[in-house]
Symmetry: C3
């Protein structure tokens, strides 16, 4: 295509023709790269081995094993749970006492979790009034001067009245306005309830890691054991156990293969050094009124095991986009083979210059070329 | 570049020069693949059509439709709910009784869920003591020999004392130490409460799938209906309804278009055969003390509908990495066109050998070539 | 490869040989694209600069900064919380009264959230019976004709009996069957409890954005302040505060660097115009029985702050697939350089035709060629 000076009309005509020719060429010409086909066993074989390796990775690992053709989405879940069983305790404070589900599950229902009381510090018949504080370095006193009216310590049970009174025969503590008598939680009783509790109906299956891995009915004791803990130890101070339900599904396969896997783990921190509050406990109260309309309450510092049901997992389904992304990047990786083999041929082969001549066409810079009096560009 | 033996200094100088030349060539030479431009309408057109198909897929599907230029993130959410309404029941056990929010919502507040009592088995004035167990095949007895002291059955209400006593005029059952009298939940009453409960204030809108799809106020009855269930049926044994809030947002667009879509679904298993515990119920108790300080309680086996609010969705925002990954894999896919067209030309075209000659330069193995007395390598 | 007609055996032999030759060639021949090496500083440099830019983007941004070699997974979490502190109130209705954890946390324990009562409308000694409804435009009446037996208004406290009775000396309202006397929540008292509550033990650290950003012990007041709210204001009508725990981890690095970041945000809608129910409140009741076995209750409309603990974040770990996808798409992007440089050379360079000749080999359509009497195809 040589552009010559000419009349404007002719020039325009030519430009239009040249434009049409270019468009025609663009649509109807097929451009394919020219290839130098080197008949060398060494490099030919190497090329194929590297390509095979990349193909095996893309097809075997990315597609078959990791299911690179699937789009993944996370689980949205809701779990209901139910606890069954009764327990008896025989303590000096309460005498013989039976505990059933309505007693030891607090609150009565929760979403994705349930709490089972395993130990208890009970303080019965508290009423609002003035009484001595629990003895502690900051609350013991010898006279009223040690106590300041209106002060509320960070761990105190009430507001100091400013008086110093006898807590027992030996110790005097500051008097507080509080729910009286104040709770004494300095000693945690050794596990005194819950020997027989199970989540099981026993009408049907019971979960077992080996024989019944899909059964959704668990013995609380086995759950704690599977988490690597001792129920006896954990019952005293309480704790948090995670019931992990892993639910990975391949929606391209039969839905019946989409089953949950259960595993169990202690979630609260057992290292007493790094823990401001070991175990799991909280305070709960039952309120009463006597015939004179005076309110009293029974305060319970409740120790127990909270079971948190954590559902996670992904569901995969064939999707064109991840498939194409993986195919595309696989093809691009195949291109690396040529770069690698070229590097080996042109760096390490004895007769690299012979091959170079075949592969490359050296094109001199035209401007420089004209200056050098138009000699051939191909060495 | 031919390396000859020579003096060490000259050789080093040459090596340095050759090294410089190579670096210079690497930086300033532009290597572009040589192309065979085949002027064939058939193959040229085919090539363009396949390329167009890939372009349409990449731009139309991946970018415009699936928003391949966005990075997605999941929703983190917190939902508050509130229930309003009162109900009246008239039963032989309780007489006329009114139920308001404080009575039928248990516990009083939950995160992302709320429970509405719809049916009730009430056992009033239970105290701890000895009484006959509920008749069941495993608890009926004819004499004390049938009852073992200390045994706790999996569904029993307490610990057996070893005595066999009359449950009523006809049946004798083992005596248990339990909250007495034991609850009789063999018959679930037909729905006896909750005709008028709604979550609505009625001051403003009420959710309607067609007219008010964004209103966050729901009639409980409509929620259950939208889930394809009958409120009347579900109220008897209870159940779990998921209030699904799908909140997909395109953060590249106006924030006001980022609105939630509500849908409703029953989550508990209705198939009675595959279900250890159909419906949704739990036990809750209210505790009292009489003037002699004896504790009694009213046990309630509470049936009802738990509404779980499940929020899910993704928010997408432009991000360079997914954009580049999709562009990169799209370019790689375009490379497939050439492979495909070459395959067709060299397998199915009549004059494939003519085209082959133009595309390929056959380079003989040099070693072999020298052995064959240096004949030309290009056929 | 020319196929000639011949004896079937010979032809088969030939086909087998040709097939073997093709397979041999496929495995042992190395095909590398032929390259035109243009010695031009301008275009050579441009080519390298564009390639460098792409490399810097892929290595610097995708791999080093955005960690494109990692597979990411979301957090699955469970949070325990504990609240400490007491408060005193002095109101005409209740007199002097102390509030501790068991009083102001409702329910006693929750997963991933806790509610702290900050204000209260208390209605003591309610019993089931007939009493006048709270005065409102829809409930005030002058005679029994204004009241319809059996009607339950959407915000009413009970079922109308059809009588019109005196609510006080001035106003008559319809009588309802309800928990009597009905609650009067028309005026919300100014914050009357909770001056000293903190979640802190003070034995150890207390969270501070600057000095103790990792301490898990918070003053409720500071939490509300960090969320940009005033505790005094929020305590009156209540609200929802999100304690956001962002936990992004790089599992390829030391685990000790995997620490949570806390931030706080008000989650409920403060705009009174767009809100059907400003603040956060619910109703809770305590039930009592007197010596005549008549049940009464104390209804509490509880205002307070619900703290929702929202854990989110991602954990990244080296994975081969995202690495290869990013490398592959990076390589494909490098291919763009040639397309871009070719475009510039063949569009804007003065001697583009000189370069075109070197790069392209024009192959005429064979069919057309034969029609044109076999003239040369290469211009």
């Amino acid at each position: 295509m040589i552009e010559e000076p000419g009349f404007s009309a002719a020039s325009e005509d030519m430009a239009a023709r040249s434009c049409y020719r270019e468009l025609h060429s663009c649509v109807f010409d097929y451009s394919t790269p020219r290839i130098a086909l080197i008949k060398s066993r060494k490099i030919g074989l190497m090329n194929r081995v590297v390509q095979l390796g990349i193909l095996v990775y893309v097809i075997g690992w990315v597609f078959v094993w990791e299911k690179g053709y699937q789009e993944f989405d996370a689980v949205v879940s809701s779990v209901s749970s139910k606890v069954k069983g009764v327990a008896v305790t025989n303590t000096s404070a309460l005498g013989s006492r039976i505990w059933d589900v309505a007693d030891y599950i607090i609150p009565a229902q929760e979403e994705n979790a349930f709490f089972v009381m395993t130990n208890l510090i009970i303080t019965q018949n508290q009423t609002q009034g003035n009484c001595p504080e629990l003895p502690e370095p900051s609350t013991t006193c010898s006279s009223d001067h040690n106590c300041t009216p209106g002060i509320v310590g960070p761990s105190s049970n009430g507001v100091q009245t400013g008086k110093c009174v006898y807590y027992n025969d030996h110790v005097k503590t500051c008097e507080v306005f509080a729910w009286c008598p104040v709770e004494n939680d300095t000693e945690v009783p050794e596990r005194n309830i819950l020997p027989n509790i199970s989540t099981s109906y026993l009408k049907t299956c019971v979960y077992d890691r080996v024989n019944h891995p899909f059964c959704p009915i668990f013995h609380l004791g086995s759950v704690v054991n599977e988490a690597g803990e001792s129920f006896q130890d954990m019952a005293i101070l309480g704790g948090v156990i995670g019931i992990q339900i892993k639910w990975n599904c391949d929606l391209d396969k039969n839905f019946s293969k989409c089953v949950p896997r259960y595993s169990f783990r202690r979630l609260d921190n057992r290292e007493l050094d790094h823990n401001v509050s070991p175990g799991y406990n909280f305070r709960s109260a039952k309120y009463y009124k006597n015939s004179d309309n005076i309110e009293s309450r029974t305060l319970m510092k409740v120790y127990g095991i909270r079971f948190d049901i954590l559902v996670f997992g992904t569901a995969g389904k064939f999707d064109i986009i991840p498939t194409m992304i993986n195919i595309g990047s696989g093809i691009a990786l195949l291109g690396v083979t040529t770069v690698l083999c070229d590097f080996i041929v042109f760096q390490f082969f004895k007769k690299r210059n012979y091959y170079k001549e075949k592969k490359y066409k050296y094109v001199e810079d035209y401007d420089q070329l004209v200056g050098n009096e138009d000699n051939g560009s191909n060495p």
